[in-house]
Amino acid sequence: MLSPSILIAAIVNGLLIGAVYALVALGLTLIYGVLHIINFAHGALLTAAMFAAFFGYRMLGIDPYLAVFLLAPAFFAIGYALQRFIIGPASHGDDRNMLLVTLGLAVIIENALLFAFRADTRTIDLPYAFGGLDLGFAFVPWPRLIGFGAVFVVALALWLIMSATDTGRAIRAVAKEKLGAELAGIDVAHIYAVTFGLGSACVAIAASLLIPSYYVNPTAGNAFVLVAFTIVVLGGMGSVPGALIGGLLIGVVENLCSLLFGESLGQIGIFVLFIVVLLVRPSGLFGARA
């Protein structure tokens, strides 16, 4: 049977990759919490951000970890514009239309990337990416460790924005009671777009953290987003702590399933968990309402 040291290593690795899942899920759950729709373009935006980080390093020599400070504002602007000028106006306030528009955007972005860069898989080699911290029972590569820390910094920053700024209060007001917020003079279209921008910025940060240890091709983001859907459902749609805990949990579950049953069955494990949670407890393990 498996020795405890292999199991511990798998759990540690699961926690580390789970942190990046959590970051992708954080953006998704934020958008769901306010706009009440699933953003199907989330994966395509992640892929686009990964390509941006890749070419930033290859063409301009920008270290991916420093690229965060360029990509996060850039993707905030992209997300803001997408919601303000395309998704919002095109969906006429109907949730079903909103879903379809984000799906349409996903198809456009993903295939535009395929058209521009073909299906080739690209990786970058950072000189320090292969080093790491030896904990004795597990070896932790630097990119994973940096990613793990960064996720909590981002979660803290989001919490500060939400609780200490006027925009954050407006976002929470719109999420709770849209009509009331509108009557109180809050520009709902603007708040929607800000939320979408914040969600997209999360994705850009996740992309920068992923690119040193992962590959990029036109469908690279999809794998993360299907997992992120699961996390969001598991953690309760719209719940930020739920996304964090759910992300770490899914990372561990996936790693253990892959270890015990092999790679593709590990993936099935996630989907089955997802379907069961949706059917039995659609409000999620930590969510309060359906």
Partner: protein, 327 residues
């Protein structure tokens, strides 16, 4: 048979196409477009009339395709019989998925997500299970006999898929005019109100999903007979889930002819994009599909059919419209 006249006119006109001396390339284009239209007609019953937007109709398409292929190849079942069982398989998957999701009260984003997840589970299972040929896929032996449901001429395949599309058109039209159809639309417009008036929303949606699954599965069965090959990516991939919802939405969601019109337009646009670039542009046709989807939702939410109707309406009654504003 009242109300079926337009269906007969359109189908008869389309049946004459092979006599016009069109090339095999054109005929092949039409066969594929009609197959996509059939998948979209299935989606339209549940999504268009019932308002339940599935993002995973590949679950039905793929099941139809695999049942047809595997029964023939591994169990030596007659192709016609396997085709019928493929359709039944799609209906069964519809009953299972619908039974689980509608009873849990999943709607909107949740329903879209759970259908997507079911299709993914089936895709991954099919890519590892030995019975489906796992990663290699399943190849159906070439056997150009009517008994094997394979034809030497493109025209014969064209009439076969046209017959299936015609049957789906008739079914859709009959649903539209039936009490069941009225209930279904009532559930789409306001499920809580419909329930309060005594409509059993769960049962209605479940029935719609079974019919929807059967029709989309028929497109999958046809795919296997036409291309004689299936693998997990073709059967359960997101491409067919997207095309199945794209065609009715572009053509006219919740209309009898929407999916047919949508499939011809969408496929025509995709083909056009590939021709312009000399066929060396992977993904460009899908970029065009995505743009068409966003533009239609933005500017003509009732699809091309709704847009045409509105345009005709406006031309015929400009004075009346000027009084009431737009329609």
């Amino acid at each position: 048979m009242k109300g079926l006249a337009p269906v007969f006119v359109v189908v008869t006109a389309m049946a004459a196409v092979p006599f016009l001396g069109v090339s095999n390339v054109t005929l092949n284009f039409l066969v594929v477009a009609l197959m996509i239209a059939l998948a979209g007609q299935g989606w339209n019953v549940l999504g268009g009339y019932g308002g339940q937007y599935s993002f995973g109709h590949a679950a039905f398409f793929g099941t139809g395709a695999y049942v047809t292929a595997v029964l023939q190849v591994r169990y030596g079942v007659n192709a016609w019989f396997a085709f019928g069982l493929g359709i039944a398989g799609g209906a069964l998957v519809g009953a299972v998925v619908g039974g689980l999701t509608f009873r849990s009260g999943l709607r909107g984003s949740y329903f879209a997500l759970v259908t997507l997840a079911f299709a993914e589970v089936l895709r991954i299972s099919a890519s590892v299970a030995p019975i489906t040929g796992a990663g290699v896929g399943t190849l159906v032996k070439l056997d150009l006999h009517v008994a094997a449901l394979q034809f030497g001429s493109r025209a014969a395949f064209y009439w076969m898929i046209l017959t299936l599309v015609a049957m789906a058109l008739i079914v859709t039209r009959l649903i539209e005019r039936s009490r069941f159809g009225v209930w279904l639309v009532a559930v789409r417009e306001n499920e809580d109100a419909a329930t309060a008036l005594g409509v059993n929303a769960t049962a209605i949606k479940l029935a719609a999903m079974v019919i929807s699954g059967a029709i989309t599965a028929a497109a999958g069965c046809f795919y296997v007979q036409y291309f004689l090959f299936i693998d997990s990516g073709l059967a359960y991939g997101t491409w067919i889930s997207i095309e199945a919802l794209l065609t009715p939405i572009i053509g006219g969601v919740g209309t009898v002819f929407g999916p047919l019109l949508g499939a011809l337009v969408v496929r025509g646009l995709g083909e056009g994009a590939q021709t312009v670039t000399g066929g060396n542009a992977p993904g460009l046709d899908l970029v065009v599909y995505g743009c068409a989807l966003v533009l239609i939702i933005g500017f003509a939410p009732r699809g091309l059919i709704g847009w045409l109707a509105q345009w005709r309406h406006r031309r015929m009654r400009p004075a009346a419209l000027a009084e009431t504003g737009h329609d």
